[in-house]
């Protein structure tokens, strides 16, 4: 490839370009604690190598992000990984993985606005990490399903027990998955879509 000067930025590979017919996009958010497998899940189903968009925490983080008594105001950068699946020649689905910890909630505003729904990815070793996330989604009225990433050394609970611990109503699906596997991650997304579809049907029956 020719050298085109210092202002050249890398772009999508030819095979990663969307067709000109792409008209609109929808998004789904995958939310969970640190290391729970969000990026792995995005990567396993994405048609492009997952990309990262960064956001700088500014005023929005004040009062949320505790600086532990330090007066020095530092700009914190938060990365968000995302991937893409072409649905039709016209429609594109984007998947965003976002951290669930309270200090990252400032990211949520633009993210959940208009999102089809969310997948809450949980690790049974650290179940409580997801409590606040689910609460926030409930408050915002964002429909979600719960996916349990089955780590080999994580305790396995029966779904009923998880449902009780997570205080989730019967209709919210809870499924086990192995996010490293494309088919498994796809099944999680499919479960979310079926759940959303059922909600849409209940709202406006055919």
């Amino acid at each position: 490839m020719d050298f085109k000067g210092s202002d050249t930025v890398p772009g999508p590979r030819t095979e990663d370009q969307l067709p000109h017919t792409a008209e609109a996009a929808v998004k789904i958010v995958i939310v969970g604690g640190f290391g729970v497998g969000k990026t792995t899940m995005v990567g396993s189903v994405s048609e492009i190598r997952p990309l990262t968009t960064e956001e700088t925490m500014t005023q929005a983080g004040i009062g949320v992000d505790d600086n532990f008594g330090s007066d020095t105001k530092t700009a914190t950068t938060v990365a968000m990984d995302f991937g893409r699946i072409s649905i039709t020649e016209q429609l594109v689905l984007y998947l965003f993985g976002t951290p669930g910890q309270e200090r990252f909630w400032f990211l949520w505003n633009g993210l959940f606005d208009g999102a089809l729904g969310a997948v809450v990815l949980i690790d049974t070793r650290r179940l409580e990490v997801s409590f606040d996330v689910m609460g926030r989604l409930e408050e915002r009225g964002v429909p979600f399903v719960v996916a349990v990433n089955t780590f080999p050394d994580a305790p396995r609970y029966p779904v009923d027990e998880l449902r009780t611990a997570l205080d989730l109503p019967e209709e919210i699906p809870i499924i086990e998955c192995d996010v490293r596997r494309r088919a498994s991650s796809r099944d999680v997304l499919m479960t979310l879509l079926q759940f959303l579809h059922a909600l849409a049907m209940a709202k406006a029956p055919a």
Binding site: E23, A25, A165, L193, A204
Partner: protein, 133 residues
């Protein structure tokens, strides 16, 4: 061991609703909302998944950021992807893009937003797409 216990929450009282959107978005039957036929009329309300396309005629004197961006979106590209490739935070991208939309250098293809519940036909399209994965 008994796992920790959570308590479910209810949707909060909604804050003041956003200002009403113009024309197109009110029609619930429309599958794809293709916005902004001409620059200058956009409200600059960009989403992470708004698709950006460069306009056919390049500007006479683009800034370096603008030329980089125009090169990237000869084919449609989401704001999130532009942000990733250009290494600019999303908030900065929206500023840059709003200016370019106003100047008519790029057009925006608006995302489909979930209303109270998602459009069933869109959900069905996504399901079919996932089945092929």
């Amino acid at each position: 061991m008994t796992p920790p216990k959570r308590q479910r929450r209810r949707p909060k009282e909604k804050p003041a609703p956003p200002p009403p959107q113009t024309g197109k978005q009110k029609n619930p039957e429309r599958l794809f909302v293709v916005a902004g036929p001409d620059g200058g009329e956009r409200d600059g309300d960009l989403d992470l998944v708004t698709l950006i396309v460069a306009r056919a005629d390049p500007p006479p004197s683009p800034t370096p950021e603008q030329s980089a961006l125009l090169r990237l979106c000869t084919a449609p590209l989401s704001v999130a992807e532009l942000s990733a490739y250009l290494n600019l935070p999303f908030s900065m991208m929206t500023v840059l893009l709003t200016d370019m939309l106003t100047a008519g250098l790029v057009t925006a293809r608006n995302p489909i937003v979930r209303q109270t519940v998602a459009d069933r036909s869109i959900l069905e399209a996504v399901m079919h797409g996932l089945q092929r994965l």
